[in-house]
Structure formats: structure tokens, C-alpha cells
């Protein structure tokens, strides 16, 4: 189990007041909220921040946490001393609003299964024993190739589960999922019956997978269209040429018409993220590469061009 430095996570001193802790938490929660911050690390940061606040906002938990001392480094292998939580008085039950996914092992070991009462399931006040299972949501990251070709992915999600003592733990939930060809970023795949089990014979909820694309080294994506920038020589642009261009479906030959300028866009029909009914295209933007004039011969050629090639500065 790794030690977590909750003060460092909230970027505060160990002697911070409760007000300072609250302010730090609110500031960081706004900054790293995964709906607001598109950085891939934001979700993890947001969870860590929530966990740190859960402990430090509660004076009882904070005192217990502080007892471990300031000499621990984040990430260091940590084992709590036996009976570390003896001699404290605690309210039973804690409030839990860390969202889905639960807290770290470190938190669960110290505050989850101990006499602190632990993290209890968020939705309280449900008295009915017959209810449909909750829907679950998760984000999965796929490559552009997965969407272009369609794919089968094995994904493992962590699913919060309430154990027999009322504590939350996360268990891995492994699924084999078909990625439909031509799915675009932000779309959701609905997997019926893969959410939380229902109670009292009611149906399970559904699982919704939101699609995100991992960045691609060559291509940019805009809805269904793929964008690619192709470097061409001035003579290719001026005289026309046939060049090899990568697409998600492999290399293709692209004809550059004579008299093309930098910035000109050429379309490769159907080479984007297409489904049976909707077509995506690839757009190739030309970028003119100006060859360097290094040798005397090359410079001479440019000077000659300067004399005989009129240019329109537009």
C-alpha cells in the first residue's frame, strides 16, 4: 500500500486551518473537474483531491492521519502500525460523495474498513427493496484505427460494490465489447443489462461507454472527418504531381493538381470515420516546403527564379 500525502495533494501546509483546507479543495476541484478540464490526468487528480479532502476536512480523521507523522513520502510503501486507530472517538458513518470509482487502497485501509464507519453508499434513504439497478457510465479511450475499422476491445472498469459490512470497495469488471465502425468521439455505446444489478428481481441497469480518441501521431479528427497536412515541394504544387498519402485505411496515391497553393485542401472521399449510412472524408491540406538555398548553384537557381517567376503577394 502506498502512502498518500494528502497535504501535498491539496497543495497546503500541514498546519493549514480547516478554512484553508476547504478553500484549497474548492479551488482544485473546480480546476480539475473532468467535465471542465480535458487533460487526461484530470480525472485521477480530481479523485485524489476528493479523497484528500474527505480525510482532512474531518478533524477526527485528520488527527488520526497526522499521527503517522510528516516523514512519509508520497508513493512510499506504507503499513499502518497496529491499533493505530485506538484511543480515538469517532462518529460512526462518514459521508461519501467521491463519485463513482471509490477511493485508494490507502484510504480504504485507514478509513474505509476501520472503526471510522467508513464510506457508505451514497444513495441513502432508499427503502424499497424492489428497484431497477443503477445505470453506470464509463469513458473508454480507443484509437482512430479502432473506429475506422471497427474493433473488439477488452476493457476493465473498476466498479464500486458494497460489501457485506457496508463498505465500498472497487472490483474489476472485465468486458469484451464490439466497437462499431465509424463511432465518433463523445458518442455513447449502450450495453443493456451491464449496469448495477437490480434488487428484488428487477432488471439490471445499463452500462454507457463514452468514446474518447487517443491522440494520433499523424491525423486530426473533426467529427467524422480526418485531417492531414502534407508537405509538398514548390514544383509539385506548381506542376502537379502524384504523391503517396497515409490514410487510416493504408496509403493511397493523391493527385495534386497543377497550380496548387499552400493551404489548398484536397478531399479523399470516404476515408474518414464512416458508418453504413454516414460518410466521413479525409482532408489533405497542402503545406509548401521551401527548399533551403545552401550551395552556390542552389542560390543561383533561386536568383534566376526571382527574375523570371512573377509573384502575386495578394
Amino acid at each position: 500500500m502506498e502512502y498518500k500525502d494528502y497535504y501535498k495533494i491539496l497543495d497546503i501546509q500541514r498546519n493549514a486551518t480547516q478554512d484553508e483546507i476547504k478553500q484549497a479543495y474548492r479551488r482544485l476541484a473546480r480546476k480539475f473537474h473532468p467535465d471542465v478540464n480535458k487533460d487526461p490526468d484530470a480525472e485521477k487528480r480530481f479523485k485524489d483531491i476528493g479523497e484528500a479532502y474527505e480525510v482532512l476536512k474531518d478533524p477526527e480523521k485528520r488527527v488520526a492521519y497526522d499521527k503517522f507523522g510528516a516523514n512519509w513520502q508520497a508513493g512510499q510503501e506504507f503499513k499502518p502500525p497496529p491499533n493505530w486507530d485506538a484511543g480515538f472517538e469517532f462518529r460512526s458513518g462518514g459521508d461519501f460523495h467521491g463519485g463513482q470509482g471509490g477511493f485508494s487502497d490507502f484510504f480504504e485501509e485507514l478509513f474505509g474498513r476501520s472503526r471510522f464507519g467508513g464510506a457508505q453508499h451514497g444513495q441513502s434513504g432508499r427503502s424499497s427493496f424492489r428497484m431497477r439497478g443503477d445505470n453506470h457510465f464509463a469513458k473508454i479511450v480507443i484509437s482512430l484505427e479502432d473506429s475506422y475499422n471497427g474493433a473488439r476491445k477488452t476493457i476493465t472498469l473498476s466498479r464500486p460494490e458494497v460489501d457485506e459490512t457496508g463498505h465500498i470497495r472497487t472490483i474489476p469488471h472485465t468486458l469484451h465489447v464490439t466497437i462499431p465502425k465509424g463511432i465518433t468521439e463523445g458518442q455513447h455505446i449502450r450495453l443493456e443489462g451491464q449496469g448495477m444489478p437490480g434488487l428484488g428481481g428487477e432488471a439490471s441497469g445499463d452500462l454507457y461507454l463514452e468514446i474518447a480518441f487517443e491522440p494520433h501521431p499523424l491525423f486530426q479528427v473533426n467529427d467524422r472527418d480526418i485531417h492531414y497536412t502534407l508537405g509538398v515541394a514548390p514544383w509539385e504544387a506548381a506542376l502537379g504531381a502524384t504523391v503517396t498519402v497515409p490514410t487510416l485505411g493504408g496509403n493511397v496515391e493523391l493527385k495534386i493538381p497543377p497550380g496548387s497553393q499552400g493551404g489548398k485542401k484536397l478531399r479523399l472521399k470516404g476515408r474518414g470515420l464512416s458508418t453504413a449510412t454516414r460518410q466521413g472524408d479525409q482532408y489533405v491540406t497542402l503545406r509548401i516546403i521551401v527548399p533551403e538555398a545552401r550551395t552556390e548553384e542552389q542560390k543561383k537557381l533561386y536568383r534566376r527564379m526571382a527574375q523570371i517567376m512573377p509573384i502575386n503577394r495578394g
Binding site: 473537474h33 469484451h176 465489447v177 458518442q187 455513447h188 455505446i189 461507454l209 486530426q220 485531417h227
Partner: protein, 101 residues
């Protein structure tokens, strides 16, 4: 619970074009009152004049879910959520345009 050999095939939510009030409540796990409040605030805009005729697009599902998370995690009230979502849309559009430059 999960059979390891089962390959799951789902439907793309966004390609089912329309949802009625009951659908959207089920998908987002919210009550009709919550949906009504969001409509009043302009967070979502269904087609149709009266609740029985309301039809929502998948875009609205996303907006409802984001709004719920902003309310829960950052304690933003509904007008605040509406503003945040508009600004996020605008930011996303600007980022998209910048990527294409």
C-alpha cells in the same frame, strides 16, 4: 456475473435519434422534475410544445449528465451550470478550430 467469453454488442446512443421524457429519465437516472427544471433554465431544449410531445436528442443526455456532475461535485446551481456548459461548448469549438489551423 460476466461471462468472459461473451462479446457484448451495444447500440450507439446518439444514433437512436430521439428520446421521450420517460426514456431520458431512465437513461440519466433523474426524475421528470429535474428534467423540467433544466428545460426552464435552458440547459436542454427538447422539441415539442408539451411534456407528452417532448423529444430529446442524445446531445441532451450529455448535457444532463454533465449538469448533474457539476451540481454534485462543485455545488454549482442550475443557472451556473447552464453558463458553464455554454462556455465549455464555446471553448471546445475554439480548440477544435485551433487544431485545424
Amino acid at each position: 456475473m460476466t461471462d468472459k467469453l461473451t462479446i457484448l454488442t451495444g447500440i450507439i446512443l446518439e444514433e437512436q435519434t430521439e428520446y421521450d421524457l420517460a426514456d431520458i429519465c431512465r437513461v440519466c437516472n433523474v426524475s421528470p422534475d429535474v428534467v423540467r427544471d433544466m428545460i426552464d433554465e435552458g440547459v436542454i431544449t427538447p422539441r415539442g410544445a408539451v411534456p407528452e410531445q417532448w423529444r430529446f436528442s442524445a446531445l441532451e443526455i450529455r448535457r444532463i449528465l454533465v449538469t448533474r456532475r457539476l451540481q454534485r461535485d462543485l455545488r454549482i446551481n442550475l443557472p451556473g451550470c447552464a453558463l458553464v456548459i455554454e462556455l465549455l461548448d464555446e471553448l471546445e469549438e475554439l480548440r477544435r478550430l485551433r487544431r485545424l489551423l
